[in-house]
């Protein structure tokens, strides 16, 4: 890590966050592979690392790497946006190490202790046992401290420096993001109440605050990578915030169809879910528009005297991932979300592999893509590269990961379809119905393909890691 081009401490810290995020991304894929193998060979690691544990690590690594990459992205863009060094960077660094240490401890407990007796001690120190937020209660408090320090850094810097639209949106969004976590930090005997608030964390994070975060990052990316017009981009960001929160907050209704909550959620859920894809489609128009306009301006400008038209893109691999984000968000969150969101059909698809298919493509398309894009932006900045080009490894990585995730999604969709038809519509969702669906030839075939596609995704990740580590020194880039 010699000749570092970063003068900003905030950006330095950002690279720490992004590096650890990439490591956790690898861990996520690894445990996902173990779980995928267990679908095909149920005896694999039985009694040592059961499916439940592999899956906990798979989905928690996912959430945590994304949170790390999000924090890293904010530390990265703050000096650019505000024009000053981030305030309280020492606290930021301290908290980084606390966060990393806490994660290591939690992972070790998940791996080695796994479950505990039915007591409060287990909830406090081993597992909270609630999907996505299994981290024990002590770690919850740690996360709150970490998040508050981060929000503090962001607010102090935003208020002292130049407060651009992007920074304003991030400030509002991140305080909601940190605050919502509190809704998942209590215990109740009432499973309906439990699930009601659990969705406040999961849905309002993933379908509201994270989406807005992505909007802000995409705005920053468009400005830095293709020199899009700030006023256009920022106005667009506000429209996007209005659309995303306007549809997403009450879109929560689609999780309240069957958990014991009243029937009026059917109507609310149906209406707002039907609207939820609109901002995603609009985001897509926006990227196309901005790129078309800036590229068009470049084509017409007089200093293009080299005979060929120069591309306006200053970081090809990052831009590729950003464009994939617009597509992936639309496909994963939009298409794959929409086709099982209405209550009439959700009655049959709720709790099947359809959800899993949607989850894989949506998390990848909406979040993983843009965060990997941010990693490339950091590599560019760190190595003082003016125009960063695609390498063979970067192209292979993006193709294999995207292809792999798409393949997994299609396989899981087919598996979900079998489940809906056999286990739900034909046999009425019992224990026997469940296993009849799981044993069907189409289902088992789909699970084989999911594993194959998972391996391809993982190989793609290995290439991505190699590229991120080495491309900075590659002489093909313009410096």
């Amino acid at each position: 890590m010699a000749n570092n081009h970063l003068t900003s401490e905030s950006k330095q810290l950002a690279t720490w966050y992004l590096t650890f995020a990439a490591i956790l991304f690898g861990a996520q894929l690894l445990f996902g592979l173990i779980a995928a193998i267990q679908y095909v060979m149920p005896g694999f690691l039985y009694g040592i690392l059961d499916f439940s544990i592999a899956r906990i690590l798979h989905i928690n690594a996912l959430v945590v790497w994304m949170v790390f990459a999000m924090f890293g992205s904010v530390y990265w863009l703050l000096p650019d946006e505000t024009g000053i060094e981030t305030i309280g960077i020492k606290a930021g660094k301290l908290v980084y190490w606390i966060f990393v240490a806490a994660i290591v401890v939690v992972v070790l407990v998940f791996l080695l202790i796994q479950v505990g007796p039915a007591s409060d001690t287990t909830i406090w120190f081993i597992t909270e046992g609630r999907e996505y937020i299994e981290a024990p209660r002590w770690a919850d408090f740690g996360i709150v401290v970490v998040a508050l320090t981060f929000v503090g850094n962001l607010f102090l810097t935003g208020m002292k420096g130049k407060q651009t639209g992007i920074v304003t949106v991030l400030m509002a969004d991140m305080i909601a993001f940190a605050g919502l976590y509190l809704a998942g930090m209590f215990f109740t005997d009432n499973i309906s109440v439990d699930q009601y608030w659990w969705w406040w964390v999961i849905h309002l994070w993933v379908e509201a605050t994270w989406e807005v975060f992505v909007g802000a990052i995409a705005a920053y990316g468009l400005i830095t990578m293709i020199g899009a017009h700030r006023k256009v981009v920022e106005m667009w960001l506000w429209i996007e915030v209005a659309m995303l929160f306007g549809s997403g907050i009450l879109g929560m209704g689609h999780h309240y169809f069957w958990i014991g909550t009243p029937e009026y959620w059917w109507e609310i859920g149906a209406l707002f879910s039907a609207l939820e894809p609109l901002p995603l489609v609009a985001m897509f128009v926006h990227v196309l528009y901005d790129w078309g306009k800036t590229q068009g301006a470049e084509m017409n400008s007089e200093h293009t005297d080299e005979g060929h038209v120069k591309s306006v893109i200053k970081n090809k691999p990052a831009f590729t991932w950003f464009v994939l984000n617009a597509f992936g968000n639309f496909l994963g969150a939009g298409v794959w979300g929409f086709f099982h969101t209405l209550p009439q059909i959700n009655l049959y698809t709720h709790g099947t592999q359809f959800t899993s298919a949607h989850g894989h493509l949506a998390f990848f398309g909406a979040y993983a893509t843009i965060l990997v894009g941010m990693m490339y932006l950091a590599v560019q900045g760190k190595n003082g590269i003016k125009v960063m080009k695609n390498t063979k490894a970067s192209i292979w990585a993006v193709s294999m990961i995207t292809g792999g995730v798409m393949g997994m999604t299609v396989a899981l969709t087919i598996a979900g379809y079998v489940q809906v038809i056999v286990s739900r519509a034909q046999m009425g969702a019992t224990w026997a119905a469940y296993f009849d669906g799981q044993g069907g030839a189409w289902f088992t075939q789909a699970m084989d393909w999911r594993l194959i596609m998972g391996v391809i995704t993982f190989l793609g990740f290995v290439l991505l890691a190699k590229d991120l580590l080495t491309t900075g020194k590659n002489p093909v880039h313009e410096r």
Partner: protein, 228 residues
């Protein structure tokens, strides 16, 4: 400024975003108050007075629970203590749970508490789904209590050699590896007898929650022909 209008004014959109977000949040909070009241857990008194709650009190374990069509609502609903013929609960017919049908509110609440804690301490949700949420590696547990496999004609009572549904379930939970029915086996999670009883109470209670007809046609259909 030829093109200056409200539509390209940054402030207009910033305000719109704030108002839309605020309005949606307030609506959500208001609905949360309404929903919270409707899904609060009932009491023993409610059951005795025939008050239908979306989430009945823990002493519901003293009653017979079924899942039947309600003509009025157009889908199945949990029916507690007998059906009045129209899909409404009568709260009369009792059913023994581990040999008793007079569990006090305190006892029932303790069992349910232990069961709910156990469901989290053993990471149930990372293989099974509860109310349809969780992982898809093992069957949904929403109405597991009503599953015919555990009933008098089902296989599980015979395999575990227990005379009742609740005892068969408790036995299975303590030694799942001994009674596996499929290659995808539940691992031994070190569940004690007390915890197992609590978990069964938790499952019985969950089956009495009004889930707006999810899952559809539970346990009523037989004979899958396609798809295999």
């Amino acid at each position: 400024m030829a093109n200056k209008s409200v539509w390209n004014d940054n402030r207009f959109w910033r305000r719109s975003a704030t108002w839309v977000t605020g309005f949606a949040s307030i609506l959500l909070i208001w609905l949360t108050f309404d929903t919270s009241a409707q899904i609060s857990m009932g009491t023993n008194e409610d059951l005795q007075n025939g008050v239908t709650k979306r989430v009945p009190g823990p002493t519901v374990i003293n009653y017979k629970i079924t899942y039947e069509m309600s003509a009025k609502r157009g889908h199945e609903v949990p029916v507690i203590g007998g059906n009045d013929g129209k899909g409404n609960s009568l709260f009369q017919e009792k059913e023994k749970f581990f040999g008793r049908d007079d569990w006090s509110e305190k006892e029932a609440r303790e069992m349910l508490h232990l069961g709910k804690l156990g469901s989290q301490a053993k990471n149930c949700m990372d293989c099974h789904t509860l109310l349809g949420n969780g992982a898809y590696y093992a069957p949904d547990l929403t109405k597991a209590w009503l599953d015919p496999a555990w009933g008098p004609n089902g296989t599980m009572q015979a395999i575990t050699n227990k005379p009742t549904k609740e005892e068969a379930m408790a036995e299975f939970l303590q030694h799942p590896e001994l009674y596996a029915t499929h290659a995808r086996m539940m691992p031994n999670l070190g569940i004690t007898k007390e915890e197992a009883i609590g978990l069964v109470a938790f499952l019985k209670h969950m089956s009495s929650i009004d889930t707006n007809g999810f899952p559809r046609n539970f346990g009523k259909m037989k004979g899958a022909i396609n798809g295999k």
